[in-house]
Amino acid sequence: MITFRVDGRSGVPPYLQIVQQVRQALRMGVLDVGDQLPTVREVVAAVAINPNTVLKAYRDLEREGLVEARAGQGTFVKRRPPGPPPGTHSRLGRSLEHWVREAREAGLDDESIESLLRVTLRSAETAVDSHHSPEEEIA
């Protein structure tokens, strides 16, 4: 089971934050096929958001084909989002850590690192397969 965090100041709509956190949990392998998502009641009791926000997020995930609602039981993971297997992210994360350390030692601050990453992503965008949405590249 996963828990959600909703940041009111992030600028990302709360329902999208939930969608992104479920996708992220699926990519990282925290959630697997057959796992149950927390019920709407459980989510709102924990994070105090509007129930319709959670319903909207779950409907979006259902439309994407990632989860399915089973009548009277709850919402369950149907499949993982397209992309590499779960281990890939942690492996790439580790090599990114090395890179970040190197960048810091070279005197780059967070802002420069972020803008360098953005520029690199943008210049690489043309080379990326067209079925990857830009959003997924950032997340």
């Binding site: 709102v44 105090a48 129930p51 319709n52």
Partner: protein, 301 residues
């Protein structure tokens, strides 16, 4: 889902020569959590009291769940009202209140109160005067929910609570709405916009005794933009759109605008608005000078 839990038409309330609420027409669809916002003295408490049947209108009409608000058991069993000064007997415990409530209400789910409060580690046998403010608010909310109302009217219930107690209170509230499966409608007045942004999906904005905005929050946010551009004559802009509020420096102007179509003037850059932009903009547009500085502060951020 599309039926209205609350509908008012030209609702007005005067106390002697003072107009507390004027020509108020609002609708709240069933299953929504509606944020009731506006400066102090805008008429929020008056509207809630009229809807609860605690005051009689001097003009217009209100329908709550299809009936006129009144002090009779059938109406009151469907409508829960929680006043700002939490109405509990300080020497009574939660358990005592549960027993009193059972005598006073047609429908009473005593077990739900015990379950909610035990889940929050709030002792049932301690006098409520010895509980913390947050715990007292939770007791009052749990008691109000025990009569299984279909409309819940809350007048600044979290104003005096610390952030954690507020989060827990709003968690209990939203969980009750989720449990109702779309049958419980809430109107919640508060000055804490970040809280309202999380829990509400509908809003009523009052200012100077009048309704400025009423509707689905996402739709209202989408209809408004913050236009940033050079300070200049806005007559052309105002022919098509409604300029709600303007903050300008000698060179630059920021306009909160309600759009009726696209903005063609390339001099302006359009930014999305937050609930806070909307509330402060409308307060600044029609509020006394005391709120003008507040609107300016909001625009600077």
């Amino acid at each position: 889902m599309n039926t209205c839990a609350i509908e008012t038409q030209g609702l007005s309330k005067r106390y002697h020569r003072v107009t507390a609420l004027s020509d108020c027409s609002v609708t709240v669809p069933e299953g929504r959590i509606s944020a009731l916002v506006g400066p102090n003295g805008a008429g929020k408490t008056t509207l809630l009291r009229l809807l609860a049947g605690l005051a009689r209108p001097t003009g217009g009409s209100a329908l709550v769940l299809g009936g006129t608000p009144r002090q009779d058991p059938a109406f009151l069993s469907e409508v829960g009202f929680l006043a700002q000064e939490i109405p509990l007997y300080r020497r009574f415990s939660a358990q005592d209140h549960i027993q009193v409530g059972a005598h006073m209400n047609l429908r009473w789910d005593a077990e739900s109160v015990r379950t909610r409060l035990t889940g929050l580690n709030i002792p049932l046998d301690r006098p409520v005067g010895k509980l913390s403010g947050g715990q007292r608010a939770q007791v009052a909310l749990a008691l109000t929910l025990a009569k299984q109302p279909r409309v819940l009217l809350l007048d600044e219930p979290v104003a005096a609570l610390d952030p954690l107690a507020r989060r827990h209170f709003l968690g209990t509230l939203t969980a009750a709405v989720a449990e109702s499966g779309g049958e419980l409608t809430v109107v919640l007045s508060s000055h804490l916009i970040t809280d309202l942004e999380r829990v509400s999906d509908h809003m009523i904005l009052l200012s100077a005794s009048r309704v400025q905005l009423c509707g689905d929050t996402d739709e209202l946010l989408a209809e408004h933009k913050l236009l940033v551009g050079p300070r200049k004559d806005t007559a052309a802009l105002e022919r098509m759109h409604k300029v709600v509020h303007t903050v300008s420096t000698p060179r630059q102007a920021r306009l909160l605008v309600r759009l009726s179509g696209p903005v063609f003037d390339p001099a302006y850059e359009a930014e999305d608005v937050s609930l806070e932009d909307l509330v402060l903009g409308y307060m600044g547009a029609d509020a006394p000078a005391a709120y003008a500085h507040l609107a300016a502060v909001g625009d600077d951020q």
